[in-house]
């Protein structure tokens, strides 16, 4: 119990519960299975990006370029779908987008490791290069009108229920993909030497070197994993909106980073968990959805998100300060 109270995740969870109750009191439509499944589906994209970002933050780095990587991957599969869509299937689409993501992520890692450029600078640069080249080549054209099988997959449900008005709803296949990624990531971070060495590296990179960890291997892994999530995310985005626009993702980097930090990851590296990241995304999701259901004008959304991040990170920093103070007193006794 005491251990739970020491965890950042507990407080995010409490915030999620409190907000859910408030929103439900104001608009009972919030706390329905239909709304829940809908939320899970539409926030799968942010959730996927957030998982990748979590790995990068734990290792002590940051990646700004993932939205551009996702845009490149998304545009490539959109072009392929429009031209040779009948010869493709959903596995090939994920495979192609994922491979592009891994390749571009790996490129980030090589630049960061070989030239020792801080990850934030490297990825701001590659964001602009990837995104810039794409807009030059495509001239910003929107792509839509994908094959029917692609649209059908997007509406696939694992099981279907019907609302009082007869509308079908249920657990989307997209949500299932996201949950799968969550489990794989949780296992990697918790039960593999690779996962633990990411924490170690984020905690103290010099000690990690002396302990014999493969620093380049770890760097390559986290940025490639982020790239893979960006690639998968690009397919999810295409499935959700059935349109690929070059400018739909770039600019959303900070929302994802904020969600992961909200979930307890630190920008200085070494901390963060999958469960915390899910809670961070959930909190952002219900805030957005709840404001709509409470008929608050959408313009207020950014202000509220900003306040939530500030309060959450502030409370957590304050608790650290207090516990440090308590230690001093104990050592005095």
């Amino acid at each position: 119990m005491k251990k739970l109270l020491n965890r950042h995740e507990t407080y995010v969870f409490i915030a999620v519960v409190v907000f859910s109750i408030i929103i439900t009191i104001i608009n009972p439509n919030f706390f329905t299975l239909e709304n829940l499944f809908d939320l899970l589906k539409s926030y799968s994209l942010m959730g996927t990006f957030a998982i990748g970002m979590l790995f990068v933050l734990i290792s002590g780095g940051i990646d700004i370029s993932f939205t551009a990587i996702a845009t490149v991957a998304g545009y490539t599969i959109a072009v392929l779908l429009l031209n040779v869509g009948d010869h493709l299937n959903i596995y090939m689409v994920f495979l192609i987008a994922g491979s592009i993501g891994i390749a571009l992520g790996f490129l980030n890692a090589v630049i960061i490791h070989v030239f020792r450029i801080p990850s934030i600078i490297t990825t701001i640069a590659t964001l602009n290069i990837f995104y810039g080249l794409l807009t030059v080549i495509t001239k910003g054209k929107w792509l839509y009108g994908f094959p029917t099988w692609f649209g059908d997959f997007a509406t696939t449900r694992v099981f279907t229920l019907y609302s009082a008005h007869g509308n079908p709803y249920g657990l989307s296949i997209i949500t299932v993909i996201w949950i799968g990624l969550v489990f794989i990531s949780w296992f990697l971070l918790r039960f593999t030497i690779l996962g633990r060495s990411l924490y170690a590296m984020g905690g103290n990179v010099n000690s990690a070197k002396r302990a014999g960890f493969n620093i380049f291997g770890n760097t390559a892994f986290v940025y490639s994993y982020m790239g893979l999530m960006a690639g998968i995310g690009s397919v999810i985005q295409a499935l959700l909106v059935q349109t690929v626009a070059p400018n739909s993702l770039v600019g959303k980097e900070m929302d994802v980073i904020a969600a992961v930090v909200l979930g307890g990851a630190s920008l200085t590296g070494g901390t963060g968990s999958v469960i915390g990241t899910i809670l961070g995304v959930t909190l952002i999701a219900i805030m957005g959805n709840g404001l709509t259901l409470m008929h608050v004008p959408a313009l207020w959304y950014k202000v509220v998100i900003g306040l939530v991040i500030l309060i959450s990170v502030g409370v957590s920093a304050y608790r650290r300060k207090m516990s440090a103070h308590k230690r001093v007193i104990i050592e005095n006794d």
Binding site: F191, G202, S207, N332
Partner: protein
């Protein structure tokens, strides 16, 4: 006679233009506790590097392990041959648990991919059992004390099949009691046939348990001595090559009014009911264990934390010191214990560090910085405190500990303070440089500065101060006139065993 574990024969190491080691012979027996001592730059770090395989010795050098000469001795070979080094910074992961820090190295060494948490706890427990310690396995390393962190590092070394543990400056950040328990661990390892090599320049503690002591100076082995034949004074002579007088400071006769007076100063959880007077030309010592409230009291006098109760008088006037600016305006200067993180801007030049406190006054009539004034000021302090540097442009981090401390002193003396508070003025500084710093401090007192010297080294306060306040658990338990007491008596009060 015990069997030899490791011996260096005629080991030399030349870097470009510098001879770090010159034909050194060195030997450690199995299960021996051996001290390697020497000043900064004497070559002891190079010896650690060669033994641990991170540097290769020159051709013509000879290394034998367990009686067999070895041809290649790289880092991984050293580990496989049972040599583990615990560096001064401990190389731990602050964000991981104690158990993980102890055991993770073994997983990496065995090229395992998946962690079994139960097994990991077993490995950690086994390592702790070997030296009879018990640490909270699930606590984060950042949450345990420095002493416990050191035990974590030792336990981690013990998960390997270790025959020699080298500890680089292990006692520099520990309290007396923690040092004692560390020494017990070393004795315990000895009974299990594991040799320990302490590398240090703070010796009196380690001497109690060491079998032999090797002294190096200027890259040469001065000699190997049974520890029973040595004492602090002899060692100092061996290390520095010259006899240093450990004289006592005598203050000027003082009948004037006190500059600083504290009456019943208290701060919740830190210190309680502190009263003392401080006169010009006097060095007042404050000693006590880590956490006794000595540093917290100094921070209050410097305006960092306000006391809850009590009065501070400055030249007889009651004052409230709310901020560092307030303290500086009154003429109080504070040189912190941790000069690296609190006292200096490491990457900046010596010159910039010296003038940082007085930069407001080094301006011309347009209120712009005056290059000439700045240069003169820097030159004066470099000369007055005999700071040895290639140029005032050198970054502070390239200087030795003693010279860094001089830079910090210069920076504060430049503000012409009335009261100078020195917290651990010679921590991490070797013996010769230590005396030089003491000379500077005495000289400042002679010139009329009132000085508070906070130190946990009793000889340091005993020899330099006129009066000593001993703090224990936040209270002043005794005030001593140094003419009327002994170091042993002070030591008893420090440890609360009076």
């Amino acid at each position: 006679m015990a069997e030899s574990f490791l011996s260096l024969k005629q080991v030399s190491k030349h870097y470009v233009g510098v001879t770090a080691l010159d034909k050194v012979d060195f030997e450690i027996y199995q299960g021996e506790i051996h001290c390697l001592v020497g000043e900064n730059g004497s070559g002891k770090s190079t010896m650690i590097k060669i033994i641990s395989g991170t540097e290769e010795a020159d051709i013509g050098s000879w290394i034998e392990i367990e009686g067999k000469s070895v041809h290649s001795h790289k880092a991984i070979d050293a580990i496989n041959r049972g040599i583990q080094v615990i560096y001064q910074d401990l190389s731990l992961f602050p964000n991981l648990t104690v158990a993980e820090n102890i055991a993770i190295g073994q997983y990496v060494a065995n090229h395992q991919k998946i962690i079994n948490w139960k097994e990991l706890h077993q490995i950690a427990k086994k390592a702790m059992a070997r030296i009879n310690v018990s640490l909270p396995l699930d606590a984060l390393v950042s949450e345990v004390s420095i002493a416990d962190q050191q035990l974590v590092a030792i336990c981690r070394a013990l998960t390997h099949d270790v025959k020699l543990i080298i500890m680089d400056e292990p006692t520099s950040s520990l309290t007396k009691r923690e040092v004692d328990s560390l020494l017990n661990v070393a004795i315990d390892m000895k009974t299990k046939g594991i040799a320990t090599m302490f590398v240090s320049h703070k010796l009196n503690e380690v001497l109690q348990i060491a079998d032999r002591v090797s002294v190096v100076r200027d890259g040469r082995l001065v000699g190997v001595y049974p520890s029973t034949e040595l004492n602090d004074e002899k060692l100092t002579v061996l290390m520095t090559g010259k006899k240093v007088e450990y004289s006592r400071y005598v203050a000027r006769e003082n009948k004037n009014k006190p500059i600083l007076e504290c009456i019943g100063l208290s701060r919740q959880g830190e210190y309680k009911d502190i009263s003392f007077k401080l006169h010009a030309g006097e060095i007042l010592g404050i000693t006590g264990l880590l956490g006794s409230g000595r540093t917290e009291l100094a921070l209050s006098l410097f305006g960092i934390h306000q006391p809850d109760k009590g009065q501070i008088k400055f030249y007889g006037q009651e004052v409230v010191i709310k901020s560092i600016q307030d303290a500086m305006e009154l003429g109080i200067a504070y040189v912190p214990e941790d000069r690296i993180s609190e006292g200096l801007v490491n990457i900046q030049s010596v010159g910039d560090n010296i003038i940082i406190t007085t930069i407001d006054s080094l301006v011309n009539r347009f209120r712009l910085l005056d290059k000439n004034k700045i240069r003169n000021s820097i030159q004066k302090w470099v000369k007055d405190l005999s700071i040895r540097i290639p140029s005032a442009e050198s970054p502070v981090q390239t200087l030795s500990g003693g010279n860094q401390q001089r830079v910090v002193l210069a920076k504060w003396i430049a503000t012409s303070p009335k009261v100078l508070i020195l917290d651990g003025p010679t921590i991490g500084i070797d013996v010769a440089a230590k005396f030089a710093i003491h000379e500077i401090i005495r000289d400042l007192a002679q010139k009329g500065l009132a000085i508070i010297m906070i130190s946990e080294e009793i000889p340091e306060v005993f020899n330099n101060c006129n009066r000593i306040l001993v703090m224990h658990k936040g209270m002043v338990v005794r005030e001593f006139d140094t003419d009327l007491t002994s170091q042993d008596e002070i030591g008893n009060y420090v440890n609360g065993t009076y």
